[in-house]
């Protein structure tokens, strides 16, 4: 028997992983949730058929979306995470003793439940007492917040489906308002490679540029996402991601990471020319 999970990356490109077995499948109020097990990537989570994470490469995404802002901010205490029902971002955040409060806003409670059961690799830190869970639409949650957070991490799905509100200007504006005067917002920024993804990436970059005084983009290599070339947005009211970054200080924390390190921190903001061009077009 050959059982394959396939995701269409463009109308003409397909990405497939051979599935050992399907562990879970359910349709929540918001989306279809599936967990598969595979030889190559271990367990993986898909929402509406789109790859969210695999056990094998999730560390890249979660380290890069978390350590970059936390390492730049001199004193991060209050963090808001939107999306992130798999717990990967939470796992990374809870490694910092200085963080006092983590608010997690996930629209779909079932994602959290499923990940707790099937993905212990990412959901292992949900019991940390610093976490407050809010199961509601992030767009709604954030418009009531003002001057409250040091860092906001937008760990969204794609700009269509339940997460599409997290790519809008009203949302980024609300994030700006919810951050303190030296706050930082980091978001999952899509891929620059395939035409449609690039257009979505440009659209959200434009909206962030219009909402924040400092808006930079950095990259990572994520094998199971379309094209493997993935971007993150770094939007900030005060701190520059490289000029205000102290790598020695971060090293002193003694955190063990598999992808992130201070050299890579600076290097991740060095982008290929074609990506710089796409970004410049909308700045």
């Amino acid at each position: 028997m050959e059982l394959w999970f396939s995701e269409r990356h463009t109308p003409n490109v397909k990405f497939s992983i051979k599935v050992d077995r399907q562990l879970y499948s359910c349709t929540s109020e918001f989306q279809r949730i599936d967990i598969f097990d595979s030889k190559e990537f271990g367990r993986f989570l898909t929402l509406d058929g789109y790859m969210m994470l695999t056990e094998k490469d999730e560390f890249i995404y979660h380290e890069m979306i978390t350590h970059i802002p936390v390492a730049v901010h001199p004193n991060p205490k209050s963090i808001l995470v939107i999306g992130a029902g798999d717990g990967g971002v939470i796992r990374e955040l809870t490694r910092y003793q200085s963080i006092e409060r983590i608010d997690l806003v996930e629209i779909d409670e079932l994602v959290v439940e499923v990940c707790k059961k099937y993905l212990p690799t990412t959901s292992c830190s949900f019991d940390d007492p610093r976490i407050n869970f809010y199961f509601e639409d992030g767009v709604k949650f954030i418009r009531h917040c003002e001057n409250k957070y040091d860092i906001i991490i937008v760990d969204s799905t794609d700009p269509f489906g339940p997460g599409e509100g997290l790519f809008t200007k009203e949302f980024y504006g609300s994030c700006f308002k919810a951050l303190k005067d030296d706050g930082i917002m980091v978001n999952q920024h899509e891929s620059p490679f395939y035409t449609e993804d690039a257009a979505a990436m440009q659209r959200s970059h434009k909206r962030i540029v219009e909402s924040f005084p400092i808006s930079k983009v950095y990259q990572a290599h994520i094998p199971t996402y379309p094209s493997g070339h993935w971007l993150f947005g770094f939007a900030s009211k005060k701190y520059h991601p490289i000029n205000d970054y102290n790598g020695t200080k971060w090293n002193m924390l003694g955190l063990q990471t598999r992808y992130y390190n201070p050299k890579l921190h600076a290097g991740a903001f060095a982008l290929p020319n074609y990506v710089e061009e796409l970004l410049r077009d909308v700045e």
Partner: protein, 481 residues
């Protein structure tokens, strides 16, 4: 007799027709799309397959004897009407047919001045004489309200020879008049009651909505199925009470109606009626729930006022349609039209309209909760980023007109074009309106005053889309020589 609302005879006939695989040597010339592949790619094969001509198996809208007749009977029952006509020229054609039925040349018709342009256009066609009842105005919100019963009564008593009373119910903003009482008054003097119910389709199918024209015993009602009813743009129903001669009405409709009615529009009416008749209660309960949620969230932002039933005053706001999401914006220092433009330009959100003091977001069953959240968040952001002191804002949305000529006489009179600034004191021979909502600021035959010129300039400056004049830039007006 009770007809089966599960049926949709036109839709069924089209399905049947597709199976027959008839070879077309008739119009339309695209022949199921084969002759126009770009259009077929764009609209889809399914659409082109049923863009067909009238023929025996599919009946003929101009003279329905089979499936269209049957579909109209089922629709009539669904709406509680004696008869119903499928209309393919928009609710505009329904409103015009109501007036052309009721009035001949020189006949009087009592109507509120804040009618849609289609009603006044009908007066130009048939040379009826309007007796305007000025709508009550809410000065705080700057919006024209419904008709007050007392004013209608005065107009009826002063014009006992009038043939009909036209009521706009509900208004674009969701405001209803006391339709039952107005109907009783009109009927007691032998006048017909015509209701422009363009924004009230859902009243017929949901729970706890204001009274419908047919339930209020009105004689004719024009219902925009394509608004809250879910059918395709341009498709509507004309509903008839039992005092109306349906065969004469068909002749009236045929005066101006196309002889090539689109089966896309007809089938969309048929399917939408079926859907509302079967599931309307749940559909509109959901719509109202979303509108109520949005209203309470918007009212918690501060500044904005999303109004509702608290406005009810027993007369000119006899009832309110809670499915409407009308928001007063002046307290945040922005005209409604400015908020309307910001929503689109900054936030990629298109709402129904913005006027001087208000915006209207159209909520329907097609909306998703997450889109409602976006709208609310965008309004928050607009206030935070663009809000200012609410000074120097014009709120008046309605200027009482001074009518000196009938619309027809003014429209066809010898006229000249003068600059807007020089037009004060002259009689206008054309329409000036913001579209939407399409309610004339000036109609043919009305005196142009300084106040109206200021209003037009202000509306232009704020970015309202002005229409109606021969001069596309609205810098000149046609006036009677």
């Amino acid at each position: 007799m009770s007809l089966d609302q599960n049926r949709a005879p036109i839709y069924e006939a089209l399905e049947n027709f597709k199976r027959m695989r008839i070879v077309p040597f008739d119009v339309p010339g695209h022949k199921r799309g084969r002759g126009n592949s770009e259009l077929t790619d764009f609209l889809g094969q399914a659409c082109m397959n049923v863009d067909v001509n009238s023929m025996k198996p599919l009946d003929n809208l101009c003279h329905p004897v089979s499936v269209i007749k049957e579909a109209e009977s089922i629709a009539a029952e669904a709406f509680g009407a004696a008869n119903a006509f499928f209309m393919v020229g928009g609710t505009t054609s329904a409103v015009q047919s109501m007036i052309l039925y009721a009035c001949k040349s020189g006949d009087k018709i009592i109507m509120p001045r804040n009618v849609h342009r289609s009603a006044i256009n009908a007066l130009i066609l048939c040379d009826a004489v309007p007796v305007y009842v000025n709508p009550d105005v809410n000065n705080e919100l700057g919006i024209a309200l419904g008709m007050s019963v007392k004013q209608v009564e005065e107009a009826i008593n002063a014009n006992p020879d009038a043939k009909a009373v036209l009521v706009n119910n509900p208004t674009y903003y969701g405001i209803c008049s006391d339709l039952k009482r107005i109907t009783e008054l009109a009927h007691s003097k032998g006048m017909l009651v015509l209701v422009d119910e363009a924004h009230g389709t859902h009243f017929y199918f949901g729970d706890n909505f204001p009274v419908t024209a047919m339930a209020a015993d009105a004689d004719l009602a024009s219902v925009s199925m394509h608004k809250s009813g879910g059918s395709l743009t341009q498709s509507s129903f004309l509903l008839l009470g039992d005092r109306i001669n349906a065969d004469y009405m068909r002749q009236i409709i045929n005066l101006t109606q196309t002889t090539s009615a689109s089966y896309l529009l007809l089938s969309s009416l048929d399917i939408s009626r079926k859907r509302l008749a079967l599931n309307g209660r749940e559909i509109f309960a959901e719509t109202v729930e979303m509108a109520e949620y949005a209203r309470s969230e918007i009212n918690s932002i501060g500044g904005y006022y999303a109004y509702s039933k608290e406005l009810i005053n027993g007369d000119s706001i006899y009832d309110f349609d809670v499915s409407k999401l009308s928001v007063y914006t002046l307290p945040i220092g922005l005209a409604g039209i400015e908020v309307y433009d910001l929503l689109r330009d900054e936030y990629d959100i298109q709402i129904e309209f913005g006027d001087i003091g208000n915006i209207l977001a159209y909520i329907s069953v097609g909306d998703r909760k997450r889109d409602i959240e976006r709208l609310i968040s965008a309004l928050y952001e607009i206030r935070r980023r663009f809000g200012k002191e609410a000074t120097g804002m014009l709120s008046q949305e309605y200027v009482n007109p001074i009518v000196t000529e009938t619309p027809r006489k003014a429209f066809y009179a010898d006229k000249e074009s003068v600059p807007l600034e020089m037009a004060a004191g002259r009689i206008c021979s054309e329409f000036v309106m913001c579209y939407p909502p399409g309610i004339p600021i000036l109609a043919p035959g009305e005196l142009i005053t300084e106040e109206i010129i200021d209003y037009i300039k202000y509306a232009k400056e704020k970015g309202c889309s002005m229409t109606g004049t021969e001069d596309i830039n609205i810098e000149r007006l046609n006036v009677i020589v």
